[in-house]
Amino acid sequence: MTAISVNNVSKNFGETRALRAASLEANFGEIHAIVGENGSGKSTLAKIISGVVPADGGSVDVLGHSPSSPTEAIAIGVSTIFQEMMLAESLSIWENVFAGSDSFWKRSSSVADKKRRTKEILERLADCPIDPDWPVSSVPLSVKQWIVISRALLQKPKVLVFDESSAALDLEATSRLHHEMLALKADGTAVIIVTHRIAELVKFADQATVLRDGETVGQIGRADMTEENLLRLMSAKTDHSAKSDAKDRVAFGGGTPALRASNIALSTNGQSFNFQLFPGQIVGIAGLDGAGQAEFVRILAGIDKAPQGTVTVWDDKGDEHLVADLASAETNRIAYVSGDRKKEGIFANLSILENFGLALYGRYANKAGFIDRKALSEVFKKEKERLSIKFGRRSDKITTLSGGNQQKVLIARAFALNPRIIILNDPARGVDIGTKQDLYTHLRAFAAEGGAVIYLSTEIEEFFNFADRADVFFEGGLFASFDEDQIGEETILGAMFGQSEPVEMSEVLEQELPSETQLQAAAQ
């Protein structure tokens, strides 16, 4: 029996199109997974089902309703476990578990009963003794996650929506949770789970809806559910074989590198790894959200400190220098461009020129700090032409520009620093296709002149025809590295999900063939 029926739903957030044509059909007594790579819209789809965000278009039918708020969703029997931990830290555990269960005039059950049920469910879930009177602030992160989960479970939902794509649960906890979900399923609940962990998913999900670019590209039933099938559906079906024609192939590896990261670990006890970048090379960095790639590029740019390991660069004379902080990154001509323009890029109240100039005042000011406006203006004119930034007057506020042009100003600012290495942290986020193409052209030209580029992206397609190498992060470390001819949707996506072998059917067959012949030879 159908519990949820979502048809052709679309959703835009400003310029970003999160969902285009997402559909999902889920029954009672079923564990239904929503999978897809970063930005495919899976969390948005889950939020639409739980009434957190309204759909822009299409039809939503959840238990015969179309919930327009989380409260309404709860009223009709939809519980949601949100990614963010929404807890009142100074209140006790039981108060948090039963938050929202009482009306202003009436209690849903007695305090003693609430405490008893809190203790019972949390000790089962968290597998450790719990006093329901403890303040939430006193318990570790993992227990907090369980509090959020038990809150949803105690509502006895008909539909449970769980977004675990960035949840703070370890493997063992996840399997305990999955056990809980199987119990819910047995009670006839429809369980919707958004997840990255496809390895476990194939073991317990009944159905999987696969999203790509905000579109449902397939629904896989229990019988066909394999990691290979899921990954294949997640990745685009387009042919990228023409890539080698587009660009002269250069072999990197000899000579002095531009940058080397040695024995880097992203957390104090994390796995350590090495990373190398050569002059003229463009290295793409990928990974699922939270796999460590963002932390890594920030360390290379000198913004954050590495918990372990060193970053070394070589100058024109071949001398070694350490990069330990922003100052040493600047003297060694490393420029950083953030894709999170709002948070760490633009200065919203300031003019276009000022946003450009703030990074350069150090170079275009005399000893007393007075700025050489004329020289700065020249550089601005040059970089503006180079990146073809479109704007009215340069004294206009930066916020009058489109996202793409704002990003261009930030990239112009990095280029104007005359860097040897340019590090871009997802610069194409929320940027139009024309700007993207321009950006690739400029970065290639920069590399052709001997510059080195580190390009983190959340969209794998960005690397095609562009990167000389793609390094993929998984669970806090560098997991796999692909040369230009190996870069493909399936190889990178597989590595992002922790698959050590590229999921290419032909390769699997090739590996098996010799063994068969060997067997035959042995038989004879």
Binding site: T238, S338, E344, A348, N349, G357, G369, T399, T400
Partner: protein, 346 residues
């Protein structure tokens, strides 16, 4: 290659951008223009309804009082630009006022005494800066607390062996009185030197803010701390410097007020709690940081001072002035605060 299809109808996007641009373009300039118009209207109305308002004498007294407020509000403007607030200003003014009067009564040379008080003011400012940086988001109550304890300590210190608390009598040197007395002369011209000092300081400050990288750093930090730190602009240095300047200008104001009144009185700074913040806001500098500037504050200072003079001219007593003043600030702020909210600007 498969790319996401175009995002939105380009025409509507461009139209909304154009209207946005219209709103944003002039928000700084707009509040400045509103301020100047308001100032002109106030002067016009006051001149017509109050006899003697448009006299040289009255203009001189307005400018003199504006100089005090202008100098006190200088620090407040800088602090507001980086997104902070300094409520210790009135207390630093009061403390500097009585401490200098006290020092004038000792054998310490007057010039050295002035220097000591200026250093003390800057030190208090630096302390405000360091502590409010460490305890993020607590600048308001923290500066208030430091100001309170300073003014209390200054009273205890100056009243040893005296039965008067809060007032200190001593001989103020004539040359020092001349700087800020209503009948003071500037190189023979009939206005006190403090007006000229204020004008020169203002001109230097405005030029420096616009053309010096340290001046621009104030706006960078005020706009976006994270983005500024990525450009190796030290938020700590900027933050502490602005508070230091604020402490310094407050103590200078307190000392000049001693020259103005001739006797030390600890409560002399009290009106400046409200007026320094009001001058900044009326001028159009956002208390959220990152916009406005001292030029705007000068307009705000003049508006407030002309308004005060107008109310006095109408014969209102202090209580009535205060009531009208407080009520008038509401529509004024509403008028200025019409710059689009920050969330619509990003």
């Amino acid at each position: 290659m498969e790319w996401p299809i175009p995002l939105e109808n380009p025409e509507t996007t461009m139209a909304s951008q154009a209207s946005l641009r219209k709103n944003l373009l002039s928000s700084d300039r707009k509040s400045l223009i509103i301020g100047i118009v308001l100032l002109a209207v106030l002067i016009g109305v006051a001149s017509m309804s109050v006899d003697g308002f448009a006299s040289t004498n009255n203009a001189r007294s307005i400018l003199l009082l504006a100089s005090f407020l202008g100098l006190a509000a200088l620090g407040q403007t800088l602090v507001a630009t980086v997104g902070g607030l300094d409520l210790s200003i009135p207390f630093v003014i009061g403390a500097s006022n009585i401490l200098l009067a006290y020092l004038f009564g000792t054998s310490i040379p007057p010039a050295l005494g002035i220097f000591i008080i200026a250093v003390l003011g800057a030190a208090i400012g630096a302390l405000n800066g360091v502590l409010s940086y460490r305890l993020q988001g607590q600048a308001l109550i923290l500066t208030l607390g430091i100001g309170f304890s300073l003014v209390g300590a200054a009273q205890i210190f100056t009243t040893f062996g005296s039965q008067y608390s809060g007032t200190v009598f001593s001989q103020v040197p004539a040359w020092f009185s001349n700087i800020s007395a209503i009948n003071g002369k500037t190189l023979g011209m009939p206005f006190p030197p403090v007006v000229l000092i204020w004008a020169v300081v203002s001109a230097i400050l405005i030029f420096w803010i616009h053309h010096n990288r340290a001046g621009r750093a104030l706006y960078a930090v005020g706009n976006n701390r994270t983005a500024a730190s990525v450009l190796s602009i030290s938020e700590f240095k900027v933050w502490v410097s602005t508070y230091t300047v604020s402490g310094l200008t407050a103590s200078i104001t307190g000392m000049l007020l001693l020259g103005f009144s001739g006797g030390g009185f600890v409560g002399v700074g009290d009106p400046y709690l409200f007026t320094t913040v009001a001058a900044v806001v009326v001028g159009g500098t956002s208390l959220l940081g990152g916009s406005g500037g001292y030029g705007a504050t000068i307009v705000g200072v003049l508006v407030l001072q002309v308004l005060t003079s107008f109310l006095v001219g109408l014969g209102l007593n202090y209580a009535a002035q205060q009531t009208v003043f407080g009520l008038l600030i509401l529509p004024m702020v509403a008028l200025y605060a019409r710059a689009p909210h920050i969330r619509y600007q990003i």
